[in-house]
């Protein structure tokens, strides 16, 4: 009898310890890492200020406004639509922490799907976070989920029917923010967040809007700029200019019948000119192999190297790897090239910015040089 009590006590203690450690790790996912906006920041709002229906929910997120005080165009930049695509999120953070507006305004939401940052996709072995060395220490960033946290929006329908087009997707896509535009004020949490974003774009009169992403090396739109038809001239001009930096981009016209995506619905429902950019990220791919923080940061995958060499698939993968510095650098240069192209076409209403590194700076000095700790 006594022996039974001892084993019960030992096993109970082990269970409790395991539970406490797991709980603490879990709790970390719900604490957003601090961001340090540059001195160019003029005000900070919440997305719920544009649509109170998401106030107090996990879908609400910070909106950073950089206003030069001089008349000019308004730029809207979204990172973290898919919180498991680090380059999109980190590029928006680098811009947030270095941007100095000189004319016009820039509005940044680094964690667009805030709920997606509070969980990690199951069955994928993704790490919960990754770390970047800066001059004043190491900063931790969340590696979240592609979709809204199922605890915040549950259960998924068998088939997700996009509103208002009626286009059908798999049930999982009901939590994908980039299949939910233009959103619905009375819909699911994801649809409400999408609706709030449309309200922001409309109320702030955004002239240009960006949605930063990453995708697996075998996805056809890698290293592309996806644009709405009304922004074709700007996209082509920017792509030509990027060629001079030895950065090759494919122009991709947003399909008219592919509904729910930012590059389609932002342009259809508001006056803005939307752009979506993708980089090649082995950690997103099915062939990636060992999935860890190193793969996120260094992007080296021998499986993708082999896949590319076989020629069986169109694989965008560099032999030295797809480093996060390289991927974020592409987004930074793409962001600035589109602004320059916009200014060429609309010289009466330009937006001028300073303080941002280009691709070559990111590759030479690393992201850490452009992240701050205070």
């Amino acid at each position: 009898m006594k022996k039974q009590y001892i084993s019960t006590a030992i096993i109970t203690i082990v269970i409790l310890l395991t539970g406490i450690i797991a709980s603490l790790e879990f709790h970390k996912m719900h604490v957003p890492e601090p961001l340090y906006p540059s001195e160019g920041l003029s005000s900070k709002r919440m997305l719920s200020d544009y649509f109170p229906g998401i106030r107090g929910t996990n879908g609400d997120t910070e909106v950073y406004i950089f206003d030069s005080g001089k008349p000019g165009a308004t730029v809207f930049l979204a990172g973290g639509t898919h919180p498991n695509e680090p380059a999109g999120y980190i590029a928006s953070v680098v811009i947030l922490e270095n941007l100095i507006p000189e004319r016009g305004r820039v509005i940044i939401i680094p964690r667009l799907n805030n709920s997606g940052f509070t969980c990690t996709d199951p069955m994928e072995a993704f790490p919960q976070s990754f770390h970047i060395k800066t001059d004043k220490g190491v900063r931790r960033f969340r590696f979240g989920s592609r979709a809204t946290n199922p605890v915040h929006q549950w259960p998924d329908p068998l088939v997700y029917s996009h509103k208002p087009s009626g286009q059908q997707y798999s049930g999982l896509e009901s939590r994908n923010l980039n299949r939910s535009y233009p959103g619905d004020p009375n819909g699911s949490l994801t649809e409400k967040v999408a609706y709030a974003i449309l309200q922001l774009i409309e109320k702030e009169n955004a002239d240009i809007s960006y949605d930063l992403h990453e995708a697996a090396p075998e996805i056809p739109i890698i290293n592309a700029i996806v644009y709405h038809e009304k922004a074709e001239d700007i996209a082509m001009y920017a792509i030509l200019e990027l060629e001079f930096e030895d950065l090759k981009y494919t122009p991709e016209l947003s399909p008219k019948n592919f509904h729910g995506l930012s590059h389609r619905e932002w342009g259809d429902y508001t006056e803005t000119r939307p752009f979506l950019m993708e980089t090649s990220s082995p950690v997103q791919g099915r062939l990636r192999g060992k999935t860890n923080e190193e793969l996120i940061l260094e992007g080296v995958s021998k499986n993708y190297k082999i896949a590319k060499e076989t020629g069986a698939l169109r694989i965008v993968y560099r032999d030295e790897g797809e480093q996060l510095n390289h991927r974020v650098g592409r987004h930074l240069s793409g962001f600035q090239a589109i602004i320059r192209a916009y200014n060429e076409f609309y010289p009466d209403n330009p937006v001028e910015i300073a303080g941002l590194p280009a691709y070559s700076d990111l590759v030479e000095h690393g992201i850490g040089c452009y992240l701050h700790n205070e």
């Binding site: 022996k3 084993s7 019960t8 109970t12 082990v14 269970i15 395991t18 709980s23 879990f26 259960p155």
Partner: protein, 48 residues
């Protein structure tokens, strides 16, 4: 509502398992039940 029903079922099953765990005399069986119990407790707390 579905979420509440799900949580109530979890609590019920965890309670039954907890009784079995305390009654069990074989330590190997205790470990086995304990592992399942841990998962259920974490699920009730919405952890993983």
């Amino acid at each position: 509502m579905l979420h509440v029903i799900y949580t109530l079922i979890l609590i019920y099953v965890t309670f039954i398992l907890g009784i079995e765990y305390l009654k069990e005399k074989n330590w190997k069986m205790q470990v086995a039940i304990g592992l399942v119990l841990l998962i259920f407790i974490l699920r009730i707390l919405h952890i993983k």
